[in-house]
């Protein structure tokens, strides 16, 4: 079901994101990347990041740091070593991402590596990643605990896990407005823009099914992460959870 959803939405994914969030999703992703604080030479894994939004941002951030630290000869070599792996289970999403990379002129850049894979069974080695992000993807997996433990496995010591996800709103009046928006406006928008009401109905329901912030934080801690924190954006519509592997 999930596979079909994303094959259907792939081509209009970015457009629908803009519509549904009023363009805010860009700010949320910016915040995610700034929390990550990428550095040259980093090995990063972005899971369920098919269309490459987060990966492009990280790459830009690393390149700008490099420009700043141009005096330091050490960094030039490091810059070559930066690798951002974009992993997605759905090949259509990856294709969209690769095309966008070409448009941005990053087609030849060997820092970006597009990999098809399952978040619950990653093909990467233990202790190989400095950072792991999953933006709006963990909602769609079957077994959240498996994804978390895979994340823990591939991260190095000192590596960080960051998850950006739609979450639960508790503020009284805002909650009702948000519910109305989710159940009435979004599927309709989906029907008009993408011609697919069901996928967006599924989307809204999956948000409600996902565990609330505190529960999810405790799941992250159970997977072995320390310093587990979360930050609510827009009153809880979106939350960024982070954890540290030591």
């Amino acid at each position: 079901m999930v596979g079909k959803v994303f094959s259907n939405v792939a081509s209009n994914y970015d457009l629908m994101n803009d519509f549904m969030s009023g363009g805010l999703h860009r700010l949320w992703k910016d915040r995610l990347v700034s929390k990550l604080s990428p550095f040259p030479g980093m090995k990063h894994l972005d899971v369920a990041g098919g269309t490459g939004d987060v990966a492009f941002r990280i790459l830009e951030s690393v390149n700008s740091i490099k420009r700043r630290a141009l005096q330091d000869p050490l960094n030039d070599d490091l810059q070559e070593e930066t690798r951002i792996y974009v992993c997605d289970i759905n090949p259509n999403m990856l294709d969209v991402g690769k095309n966008r990379a070409l448009e941005k002129g990053l087609g030849e850049d060997k820092s970006l590596v597009w990999v098809q894979g399952d978040a619950e069974a990653l093909s990467f080695e233990d202790n190989s990643m400095d950072g792991y992000t999953i933006a709006f993807g963990i909602r769609n997996v079957t077994h959240i605990e498996k994804v978390l433990s895979e994340a823990y496995r591939v991260l190095k010591r000192g590596g960080r896990f960051l998850c950006l996800e739609l979450s639960h709103v508790d503020i009284p009046v805002f909650k009702e407005l948000y519910d109305f928006y989710s159940f009435s406006v979004i599927p309709r928008l989906g029907e008009i823009v993408a011609g697919d009401r069901e996928s967006y109905q599924y989307l809204v329901e999956s948000i409600r099914r996902f565990p609330p912030q505190e529960k999810f934080a405790s799941m992250i801690a159970d997977a072995g992460f320390q310093k587990v924190e979360y930050e609510n954006l827009v009153g809880g519509v979106v939350a960024i959870h982070s954890g540290l592997k030591i």
Binding site: D130, K156, G158, R160
Partner: protein
């Protein structure tokens, strides 16, 4: 009194694992960071920390996740031992970063180099509390760590130094300020950067507190018993002496900062002389006032009598 009993308890209890001053690290940090759910509880070192309402404020849009430390304390503590605590690791990274500061300045690069040296992924640098991606916040962390460390060493010195009691206050102060400034001597080439970090609006309250504690420690060691306005005057004056000497040190190129110590000595003497001068001036004013008062009274009396 700044040097409160609680502080003392924190200092003496933190002789266990991890660096003392870093375990005070979250103490002086206010509610800017969203907070911590940690799998390792330290009920003995932070008596009030986990339940501090400031941590769970929603002044920014972040919310905190508190551990229910009542139940499950014991199994958690057993789980904590085999795993290194992240605070300990952060402290190690900061300590290693200090060694790179001379070459790379008080910067993120220094911290990344420090992390690599310790064998931990530089991603950990991102986990230091930071607000709105402000680089300075991370730098503040490094600088603050260093300042706390120096304060700690000063306290150790005071506690261990018996000979301090034999000295007169002005000499005692001279010795302590000199000792403290010597700790900064290795970093003197990058110290202007450190001062600018301390002066940054985000950090002003923290550095003010650190300075106040420093000045308080020194006066306390010099045997200060005052509890009235004098307390504030003494500390302000010492703060002034310390700051001016620190800035003097920045441009001092004499071998082993001889000129700086001379400057410091003169300033300390001036301050003590000033104190005497003010006292004498007060007496003089009183005497004049008394004299004038009686003659004025006599004059007014005569006028009224007429």
């Amino acid at each position: 009194m700044y040097r409160t009993v609680v502080n003392r308890i924190l200092l003496t209890k933190n002789t266990g694992g991890g660096r003392r001053c870093l375990l005070r690290f979250p103490d002086l940090r206010t509610a800017v960071s969203s907070s911590r759910f940690s799998t390792t509880t330290e009920p003995q070192t932070f008596p009030n920390r986990p339940l501090n309402p400031a941590d769970s404020s929603t002044s920014s849009s972040s919310t905190s996740f508190q551990t229910s430390s009542a139940a499950g304390d014991i199994p958690r503590q057993e789980r904590k031992n085999p795993r290194a605590e992240y605070q300990g690791e952060q402290a190690r990274v900061l300590q290693a970063s200090l060694r790179h500061v001379l070459r790379l300045g008080w910067s993120e690069e220094a911290m990344i180099a420090g992390a690599k040296e310790v064998g931990i992924s530089p991603s950990i640098v991102g986990s230091f509390p930071r607000k709105e991606a402000a680089l300075v916040e991370v730098l503040l962390g490094l600088n603050k760590f260093f300042m706390d460390d120096c304060l700690q060493r000063l306290i150790d010195r005071i506690d261990s130094g018996e000979e301090l009691q034999d000295l007169i206050p002005s000499q005692c102060i001279y010795k302590l300020v000199r000792f403290r400034l010597e700790m900064q001597a290795p970093y003197i080439s990058k110290w202007p950067q450190a001062l600018s970090i301390q002066a940054h609006p985000l950090n002003v309250s923290t550095s003010f507190k650190q300075r106040a504690m420093l000045v308080d420690e020194i006066w306390h060691a010099a045997g200060d018993e005052a509890s009235d306005l004098d307390w504030y005057v003494k500390r302000t004056v010492l703060g002034g002496i310390y700051s001016t000497t620190e800035i003097y040190m920045l441009t001092d190129s004499s071998p082993e900062f001889r000129d700086t110590w001379l400057f410091l000595d003169n300033r300390v003497k001036d301050a003590f002389d000033l104190k005497k001068t003010i006292q004498e001036a007060t007496y003089l004013a009183e005497a004049v006032g008394a004299g004038m008062g009686s003659s004025l009274q006599g004059f007014v009396g005569k006028v009224i009598q007429r």
